[in-house]
Symmetry: C2
Subunit: 294 residues, 2 copies
């Protein structure tokens, strides 16, 4: 007997954009953990939480060294170049290959916070470095990660959280992550349908899974657009359905960020809800996933 | 007998970029005026001065109505479209055609401040609206206005000041004007040579008169990059040689700004220092210029 999961968040079904109220909790548990009640309340209200200077210089330096190692490693599915510039590295996936990132993503201030928010053990759904170069670093269009993870990867529920670790200083001026406060409370279905092997293109320049302008206006009218700024070592947690994006970096100051996506062990991937084939496991772990040790 | 002015700021002469110390004063007079000694000191130090909420809502509303009028007017040399989007208006020149802008640019808080900074009567060298649309509004690459005005228009000395009037709210997130503090103290000569009729292209997407990355890094290492943020009605004065630029606007919040460039009546244009033909007068007034009434 096959169990078929209901698609509770249909998107890219060929119709128009539609905005519906969120159906899942934002915070899934009530156990204590590294986050204070005030921090939890801010996360629930805004869909994100910024923790300035959470990590010390040693952790940051170790990750910067690991960034250099991974960026120099041979070509592979884990390396993605900038749109229109094959020789400029934009993203590196599967950071757990490097011990510096493996120990960082298991730290209690990160993984423990994720467990606290998701009310269960967690595993790494995806990890990546985003390198936004000086002068030429390209932005990311507005999107909800959950929309992609649901449609293309088969993530059933909104029970995942992204953790962005600033490895360099994030200023307002060098293309920081922008988040729409409160947008996690709404699900925006996107127009169009997912082409085959969409990820080969979308990681460089995303075209599907991008909400229309009216939906973005609607969300931004209800909550301020806020940048994630802070010195290297600052951390932002953002809920998997929080609408976010970033502009190009035109300044001489490059940015490097590590992203760890913690998913609940009870929210593992099923078949994609809107794509013919699941994406490769370096983009979306499935099958033999291991909980992050607590 | 013909008097030939020495080119004290050579640029686009076919050589490499070069950074030289400024040869002209920043403040040209010492008469009192609308700016306080502290404001004058900040302008001299940073090369710009931000005056939050300088203009009231009536002045802003009148200019927004004028913006709509001018944007709807027939095609002409004063209208410039976005790069790659012929139907999206990027800039409108010659604002003095509209009474709302004509009276704004003559107000003592603006023109009087310019007279105070430049130590003489002033005239409008150029005036323009910059419309940075929601979602698709494109940025401007880093540049010194003086470099262009000297090379392409024949402005002899650094004795002009730009006044940017925010007609909509400027946030850090919607592609605000970015200024490099202290950059006005250096002249960066630019590589390349000016092609004929460069302005037909440069106002949409500038390629010449753009400093190289090393020079920008050098300037930014000496002074912070600061955004001009503030509510509608806020004003920024920036010295004609201050390095500035802006990123794209990816947010749902459009921006509209009016720029008035005040030049000293004693600094009128001569033949261009690095172009075969002067640009048209809607970009650079010459000949029969009139002082702004005091």
């Amino acid at each position: 007997m096959t169990t078929t999961l209901e698609d509770r968040h249909p998107s890219r079904t060929g119709g128009e954009s539609e905005i519906t109220e969120r159906r899942d909790p934002v915070r899934w548990g009530s156990d204590p953990g590294p986050l204070s009640p005030e921090q939890l309340a801010a996360y629930e209200r805004d869909g994100f939480l910024i923790l300035p200077d959470l990590l010390g210089p040693d952790a940051v330096d170790a990750c910067l060294a690991a960034t250099r190692d991974l960026s120099r490693s041979d070509d592979g599915p884990g390396l993605v170049a900038e749109p229109g510039a094959d020789d400029e590295l934009r993203s590196v996936f599967e950071l757990g290959r490097h011990p510096a990132f493996a120990s960082l993503m298991a730290m209690d201030v990160l993984a423990g916070a994720a467990r606290q928010l998701l009310g269960s053990d967690v595993y790494i759904h995806q990890s990546r470095l985003n390198l936004k170069r000086a002068f030429t670093g390209r932005g990311f269009p507005w999107h909800s990660d959950f929309e992609t993870w649901h449609v293309e990867d088969g993530m059933p529920a909104m029970r995942a959280v992204s953790c962005s670790v600033a490895l360099t200083d994030n200023h307002t001026t060098n293309g920081p992550l922008l988040l729409i406060a409160g947008s996690h409370r709404w699900f925006v279905s996107c127009p169009g349908q997912t082409p085959d092997d969409h990820h080969l293109q979308s990681l460089r320049r995303q075209e599907y899974g991008v909400p229309d302008h009216d939906s973005l206006r609607w969300l931004a009218a209800r909550g301020e657009i806020r940048p994630f700024t802070g010195a290297a070592g600052s951390v932002a947690f953002f809920e998997c359905n929080t609408m976010h994006g970033s502009a190009d970096n035109i300044t001489p100051t490059p940015r490097a960020s590590a992203f760890f996506v913690y998913n609940s062990i009870d929210n593992q991937l099923v078949e994609p809800f809107g794509a013919a084939q699941p994406r490769p496991t370096h983009l979306a772990a499935r099958g033999d996933v291991r909980s992050v040790a607590s």
